[in-house]
Amino acid sequence: MVIKKKYPTFPKGGVHPTAFKDYTANLPVENLPHPHRVCLFLKQHVGAACRVSIPKRKDREPDEALLLGRNPGRIYQKLVTKKDRVRAGDMIGTQDRGLGATLHASICGFVQGVADGLHPMMGKSPAIVITHDPEETPAQYTREDWYSLPRQTLLDRIRLAGIVGLGGAGFPAHAKLDVSPEITLDTLILNGAECEPYLTCDHRIMVENAHEVVEGAKIILRILGIQDCFIGIEANKPEAIESLQKVIDDQSDKNRFRISIKSLAVKYPQGSADQIIQSVTGRVRPSGKRSSSIGVMVQNVYTAKTIYDAVVLNKPFYERVITVSGKGIARPANILVPIGAHLSDIVTWLGGATPDLAKIVVGGPMMGYAVSSLDVPITKTTSGILFLTHDEINTEAHGPCIRCGFCLDACPMGLEPNQVGIWVEAGRGAETAPFGLMDDCFECGSCAFVCPAKRPLVQFIRLARIQIREAEKKKEKQK
């Protein structure tokens, strides 16, 4: 209650789930030993899947070829083929058509070819499988001063490093940073809210890699050509605030960049872009427009850190810190894993699951996806794996809506989840477009969290969206 009054936050809606961050908040990041096998999805992000072949030009290095190669009609050659030997950090997938991100080998070993892997969200989708070769050692990266580099080079390095937004959606970072000249931005917000319960990977990054985060922020500011940056952090992470503050205070170029920390009240979904913009700057994004229309860009703190890695170390994004937590795992941890590592490897390393395990969630408990198998690989956007027991989740059957209005109070976007639920249950989901879920709902799950009847409102909303789209398609066809 005290926290609520003291710190700024978004005014509308929001819920207060128990944080459960104590399990892992104070555990330093540890390394996962190289898994035997990794599985790298060609589509790890918003946009098009990456390609495993590059334009065939012998006289050029692959990097340069990629920079130039948007010309259709070239002869393509496979970037890697079966049985190829790769080192961690080698590019194995390209981004040469539209929105997308490059893909890199995450361990040293042999390419086994392209096979179907089990994606936590999209079900079966194509992936490159690499088996580990213990004889090969990963590349070493050297520090390089980025101040002198031109803007385009910074962007290229970010693009070639295959960085996507690590806040959840996975929007390719270079595309987001390459704003068109018509748009004027004035503020960068680094999102360190990490409002999802259990998850602590961003928190650990802020504690352990404060310098990289701040430097990353500067790189982004430089690319955008602006000076103001706020780092929004929920007030329940004093260590992170402290270590970042220290770095900010110590920096030498305070005049060039104005970076400051905003402590925010603890409230879910503080970490959503719209909400953190409102919490930090008080601005509100108009419906149907990007946040850039109000002069703000939001980047995750972890994205800033990877951008630093890409620009300063020239290190591609092929491994990330995830939080493994919940009562269902023997030893909760913050753990650095190569992308593509399977859940089973991680579970084995952390001493296995407890017998009362009921649900495995990839991502946070509010917006993550439940998986039915341990044979699921980590993707670039996986921020955590939760092993939840029966007393942590709710398995009650849902009852009828009693119109208590709790969900309306909880919805940060001012929607009416109860109505959508009732309409979908009555088989009229296609008529729910006026409730605004197509534009505004980002499925934060606050409504379902508070619902006393335990109604699966997010599921109803997804169904409604599908039905609305189908109805629209039908309409177009009739025309």
């Binding site: 439940a370 198998s373 939840l388 009852g399 309306l408 929607l415 969290f449 006393p452």
Partner: protein
């Protein structure tokens, strides 16, 4: 561990602990103090009436859900609340079997037929009461008992129901005037005190403003109901009675108006029923004002001394419209 044991469902994977059942049973609990007082001042038969009413409601719900092949949801406590509220608006001297037909009307006709919990248009308990008033008009309007002030609980179990009866304060006020009220119930100061504590003739659960207020404030504190409806109902009744209730304008007695009759019970426990009241805060205020206005109108100009039961019933069907008109403010509406 086999992989088929894992539960797969859509996010969110954690839930708040508050459930429909928890809310309903909390309401039941906060409805208990008036019942205890009622047994204390009116005698043991009020408990019997209440038990019969609750049992009839629960049984009706179970039987009708069984017959219609629906899942039986008597454990959610909504039928218990309906039973309690129905008993609370029955005079204490009424025969014990009277709530049974009212319960069938409340639960089967008003709730189950309309699609069960969450879809009823009217407040079930109040429809039950309106039905009972129409069916047993004599018992429902004359079976009042004088509260026994200094008797200990359980000592007057064998009380002769027919022997002692009294008119309710509102009846006296409407038909005989203020002087008669003071003549019967003592000076105004005593009246205020007695009525606030609950020592007045009235329906089983509506006499004590104090105890109902306690229960209601507990519900507000638990965030199960909001202050909007109770406050707007009570404020509008007080205001309109003050303006129009006296011999000339602005001479009415607002305190008496809100302490007597079912105002408190109606405002805190009946009008706030989730299903039959608007979901938006501004809608709740309009709803509450409407109830207050209609209550005063029926009290002053209508055929009944008490009006809040019908006032709530008359406002209930406006709920879908208010919900449709008053939408929550969308996030982006705050954009400049």
């Amino acid at each position: 561990m086999t992989q088929t044991d894992l539960i797969v469902s859509v996010s969110p994977h954690i839930r708040q602990t508050v459930t429909t059942e928890a809310i309903m049973w909390t309401v039941v609990a906060s409805l208990m103090p008036p019942l205890i007082l009622s047994v204390h001042i009116f005698g043991f038969q009020t408990l019997i009436i209440t038990l019969v009413s609750v049992a009839a409601c629960v049984a009706t719900e179970a039987i009708s859900q069984r017959l219609l092949g629906r899942p039986i949801r008597i454990r959610d406590g909504s039928a218990v609340i309906t039973g309690l509220l129905l008993a609370y608006v029955i005079p204490p001297g009424a025969p014990f079997w009277m709530p049974i037909t009212g319960a069938i009307m409340s639960i089967f006709v008003t709730k189950i037929l309309m699609g069960g919990l969450g879809f009823n248009i009217f407040n079930p308990a109040l429809i039950g009461r309106a039905f009972l008033v129409a069916t047993y008009p004599v018992a429902m309007t004359t079976a009042w008992l004088i509260p026994i002030r200094d008797a200990a609980i359980f000592t007057h179990m064998g009380r002769n129901v027919d022997a002692i009866s009294a008119a309710t304060p509102l009846y006296v006020l409407k038909h005989e005037g203020m002087a008669a009220l003071i003549d019967k119930f003592g000076p105004l100061k005593t009246i205020y005190r007695d009525f606030f504590i609950g020592l007045q003739p009235g329906c089983i659960g509506e006499t004590s403003a104090l105890l109902i207020l306690m229960g209601g404030i507990y519900l507000i504190y638990k965030h199960y109901i909001t202050w909007h409806i109770p406050v707007s109902v009570i404020a509008s009744i007080a205001l309109l009675t003050w303006i129009f209730g006296g011999d000339a304008l602005f001479t009415g007695n607002p305190v008496l108006a809100i302490l007597s009759g079912g105002v408190m019970l109606g405002a805190f426990f009946m009008a706030t029923d989730y299903v039959t009241s608007p979901i938006q805060k501004n809608g709740k205020l309009i709803f509450g004002f409407g109830i207050g206005a209609l209550t005063v109108l029926i009290r002053l100009k209508g055929g009944y001394p008490e009006g809040i039961c019908y006032a709530i019933l008359l406002m209930n069907p406006l709920t879908p419209t208010l919900d449709q008109w008053l939408k929550p403010k969308r996030f982006s509406e705050g954009a400049k």
